[in-house]
Amino acid sequence: MLKTRDDLIQLRSACMEAAAAETQKILICAGTGCIAGGSLELYARLQELMAERGIACSVKLDNTPHQHVGLKKSGCHGFCEMGVLVRIEPQGWLYTKVKLEDCEEIIDKTILKGEHIPRLAYTKDDIIFQKQDEIPFYNRQTRLVLDHCGHIDATSIREYLAVGGYTALEKALFEMDGEEVVREISDSNLRGRGGGGFPAGRKWGQVRRQAETTRYVVCNGDEGDPGAFMDRSIMEGDPHRMLEGMMIAAYACDAQEGYIYVRAEYPMAVERLRMAIAQAEELGLLGENILGSGFSFKLHINRGAGAFVCGEGSALTASIEGKRGMPRVKPPRTVEQGLFGKPTILNNVETFANVPLIVNKGADWFKSIGPDNSPGTKAFALTGNIENTGLIEVPMGTTLREIIFGVGGGMRGGTNFKAVQIGGPSGGCLTAEHLDLPLDFDSLKKAGAMIGSGGLVVMDDSTCMVEVARFFMNFTQNESCGKCVPCREGTRRMLEILERIVSGEGQEGDIDLLLELADTISNTALCGLGKTAAFPVVSTSKSVRDEYEAHIRDKRCPAGSCQKLKRYVIEAPLCKGCSKCARSCPVGAITGKIKEPFVISDACIKCGACVETCPFGAIKEA
């Protein structure tokens, strides 16, 4: 139990010493992706092999440093495409796609002889990349918040201390008062990473100024946007960084208790956070009179129960209170009356994870990264039809082109870039004309999209944008809590229209009707979910209006993806073999003998001419 600042400093240097004494380290990615690829089996096998070969191996940092090989389960490295990932230190090598049968070679060659195994290294265009930092996917990134992810044991507070963990908390507690912390965060212009981009410092300042003295800090870990997993990786890969951020927020605003709300779909994040909280409590970094500073803070974890709307502030606090997670009318805002009706700081995982960096290095340092109006970095989850799927972190203001074709390695299989969906169901679609748009809060807003939490789903020209809009509308419609009419009814009507468009039953005027509904919903819905529900439709109807028109007027899906618009067949029992269709076909795709059923070949261009000419209604869409 640490009682004073000196106790913490001493423990930290002991941890640093122990970490430095490890002659070599094997870091096995234990993020959800790599675990699914078998990384835990790999870990067990490596441990077993080292025992067999009599190699001194430690799986935990302890107080007395010894010359051991450290075997660690790290957080997500982000390069999920290449999992299972194994990092070797001190060389900084990264082995990719490691299989159980590779373990022996890793021990015998790399650990015992210090030899590199080229076949396990990342290879691109015949270049073998030994070091992790040399791989284009990594060296084009600026990993600050994700710095530790993949480099330390995510399940150990000692490892976090060994890389300078909790120095920011220490600095805040003993060298700054609450007001100064708030000022530092305000000066840094850190904007909420959860989507809205509201300045965190302003929020904190407002909570600090409330007359009510019972206050809460709440972390929104309800990362529900499909295609986003930044927060998950931080919670799983570097949980202490986020806790430290929350503690600093609590200190800055004199809050006594904090809650972390994590989605139920992230069981491992819950487990790692529980572990991290228990470790911090054990050391006395959470609890009463922390390090003798007089500051006390307790943290709780709440698991979500599967409601996307709980990512909205007032719905989230209602859910923590044990109620239905339905948003309420604002004002009063969360900073005034949040959790249990008390002033509440509510930020998301990534925002809190930025806090220790800012406190340690200062607002000026933070502002030197990225553009003035949105400084710092942003983590993005890169998925879809892209070469390097995974988790990345780049300075705010990086262009889409750099992210997709630089870090992301371009399109998967060399297909053509069509669009990228940013910000999940509340975001928008950006097309080729936006490739040089800097990604920051304000530029995206101007382009009719939003950064959201940071999901980037890249789509090639085989993806139908109308179908994508339908998919998101279906999602939002499902997740609408039903409290306000515009969202509950409006999204349902929009979904119906989109469904009929993709099934080829769109009518003239549907686009205008969609836009009219969109306008009404955006202006009248109660919460962010409803207000932004129509964004994907609005943005796609602008950028690819011709695709909508093709669906509606020509009953054709230009991407060739909409099932219902895909194929025409002649139903044999109805066909009288009159050959009218064959004569109407512009490409000669219909053949057959007179008075026998005709058939449509693959040459069909789906123009629909035959359907119109058939007097018996025998030609149907399959």
Binding site: T32, G33, I35, A36, G37, C80, E81, G83, E223, G224, D225, P226, G227, A228, F229, R232, A264, E265, Y266, P267, N302, R303, G304, A305, G306, A307, F308, S319, I320, E321, G322, K323, R324, G325, M326, A381, T383, G384, N385, T389, G390, L391, Q421, G424, G455, V457, M459, T463, V468, F471, F472, F475, N478, E479, C481
Partner: protein, 161 residues
């Protein structure tokens, strides 16, 4: 499910979380972890213990997608239909599973209470799309054929158990 309702066990769960209205969700989660659904008996008991109306407890249970008032299968198979999985063709996997098990959108659990098939909007494992989970174990980069094979394996395990 033949398992009978044990009010003492539920009492223990309530005590573990503290009988407060704020704990309703956590209590229901743990009850569901035990029974794999929320047995009807839980509502009056929880209402009495926690001091909120039965209707309120019920309203919470019906609001959140994770709660089920119907018994679920021993193996809950979830197909991720988040954007990334959707773009990489998760729906054919769902269709294959449903046809293999004789299930539909309406009927999500097999009559022998062995399998439940449902979709989930995103598991956050987008790098591995499309993803299927069986009782929270993640299976990456699935295809309809791989899913059928997985299903046969589960059935075999069950027969040998």
């Amino acid at each position: 499910m033949s398992q009978s309702y044990d009010s003492r066990l539920v009492d223990d769960i309530i005590d573990g979380h503290g009988a407060a209205p704020t704990a309703v969700i956590a209590i229901l989660q743990e009850v569901q972890e035990h029974y794999r659904y929320l047995p009807p008996e839980v509502f009056p008991q929880l209402s009495r213990r926690v001091g909120v109306s039965e209707a309120s407890v019920y309203s919470v249970a019906t609001f959140y997608e994770n709660f089920s008032l119907e018994p679920k299968g021993k193996y809950v198979i979830k197909i991720c239909d988040g954007t990334a999985c959707h773009v990489r063709k998760s729906i054919p996997i769902l269709e294959r599973l449903r046809s293999d098990l004789g299930l539909s959108e309406k009927k999500s659990t097999t009559s022998d209470l062995l399998f439940t098939v449902e979709t989930v909007s995103c598991l956050g494992a987008c790098g591995l799309a499309p993803v299927v989970t069986v009782n929270d174990k993640v299976y990456p980069a699935m295809t309809p054929d791989k899913t059928s094979a997985l299903l046969s394996q589960l059935k075999e395990d069950e027969a040998n158990a």
